[in-house]
Symmetry: C2
Subunit: 305 residues, 2 copies
Amino acid sequence: MEAATPAGEAGADVSRLSLNTATTKSWTLAQAVDGTVRAGLGAIGLWRDRVEEAGLAESAALVRDAGLRVSSLCRGGFLTASDEVGTRAALEDNRAAVVEAATLGTSELIMVVGGLPAASAPGGPALPHGDRDLVAARQRVADRIGELVPFAVEHGVRLVLEPLHPIFAADRAVISTLGQALDLAQPHPAHAVGVVVDTYHLWWDPELRAQILRAGEQGRLASYQVCDWILPLASDPLLSRGYMGDGYVDFTSIGRWVTEAGYTGDVEVEIFNQAIWDTPGDEVLRVMKDRYVRHVLPALTPPTA
Amino acid sequence: MEAATPAGEAGADVSRLSLNTATTKSWTLAQAVDGTVRAGLGAIGLWRDRVEEAGLAESAALVRDAGLRVSSLCRGGFLTASDEVGTRAALEDNRAAVVEAATLGTSELIMVVGGLPAASAPGGPALPHGDRDLVAARQRVADRIGELVPFAVEHGVRLVLEPLHPIFAADRAVISTLGQALDLAQPHPAHAVGVVVDTYHLWWDPELRAQILRAGEQGRLASYQVCDWILPLASDPLLSRGYMGDGYVDFTSIGRWVTEAGYTGDVEVEIFNQAIWDTPGDEVLRVMKDRYVRHVLPALTPPTA
């Protein structure tokens, strides 16, 4: 089945467009690879859950045989545990993720660094008891990134720090701005620690242009992920993302900044949204391509001098 | 009726504690003034809706006769309109708010500056059509603050910029960090434009300590407002605030920074929360005092050298 191409957009260049497998949650990895190829995209972004289901070697073969680039692997991270057992488990899991990224043929491992320890604990209480020290949690992230860097470099994998919207600062990521992510990356070489610009998380950041340019200058801009900030928020704010154009994100400005910063890599669409998850995958890809071509692509083309 | 004092906290100093009238939403202004006096607090923070109901002159007399300080007036702002009619209306409303603040005897007018124009329009569509240019919206805020400053100074009122949590960047405030608020304040004297630190909005800000100290050095720290960030978010995120101690905010660190910055003013408790609104006001004040004494006050006392 061919995805329909909107009138007037025939031949639009979707070679940099990448499907993040979280966008088509109901698809297995094989289905997502097939759908991505069918839609004519150049790349796919993988979540570890889909890879685990399919098997690591099998997943690597699937993607390679399909001729797709792997734009990133999601995700490592959750590095804020304040106890020894939690810390050891986190480091071990991140080393496994590094190996998976290398095996899958991507150099970019996205890192969601974790929230306050009490809030992050799986099955933990809704209200935290104990550790609210955000400054200390951030320091633990810095220390553990430092511990993981040699292992990552050895495997040719970059740890890509993802600043998350501050709505998730308590329970998912104590990194909230691009500047903060770049400060954490600073002690390490650019091939060891990078950053990702996700429009959903960063569209509001008052320093966004300056920090995107800083990331570009340092060679740390590892990924550009796009989806929209929609209102009202979904009851689970984690699922409150929309197709590009359905919300408030200024893709024209942000796309121009990313281009100014020299980014020429893949553009991943990663949307967590129940209604989109309930839509057949090919239809999701059709809309996603259309929105990419209309709202994202124009700003990614440097003006011909 | 005397508010109960928790055992062991008898005599704790609540002279800097201020009830923001939004916390006891069901109370009229007269009831809020009486309740604040009954609880032994030194100050009250007023919202304009309660003042309007009671009448401006009457409100001023009520608070003055009760011997309370007015820690702030909430709120001016909503300055991001991109059309002439909307702009003129906003400036006029802000001049009225300045006069109200002066009449009520407070120098501090809290400014919630407004979101993207389409998102801010009352009764407007959930999805915006048109103006997503956040950089331009911020510039309009800067310009209009500049227009309002002479009028405010003439009336002895300071425009106090409130950075709001980025969850509200689309629909309520295009100022999201304390550093950004201070950058906007920079062209104006400290007695003309100040900033407020509200823990709910700023607890996640990676530059919070540095920017609080900067605000202190510049004499711009006009208000300290406290309440907690709780999870899961309420279905209306605007109402997702909790008593101090019920969530993730590190009041010890933030209180210490505010104290380091030289702030010795009132500490306002402003909680939007349906369950708290449904609780009798005196009970709300009892809990609020207890939480203030346990979680907030200790960090506000500079160590004796």
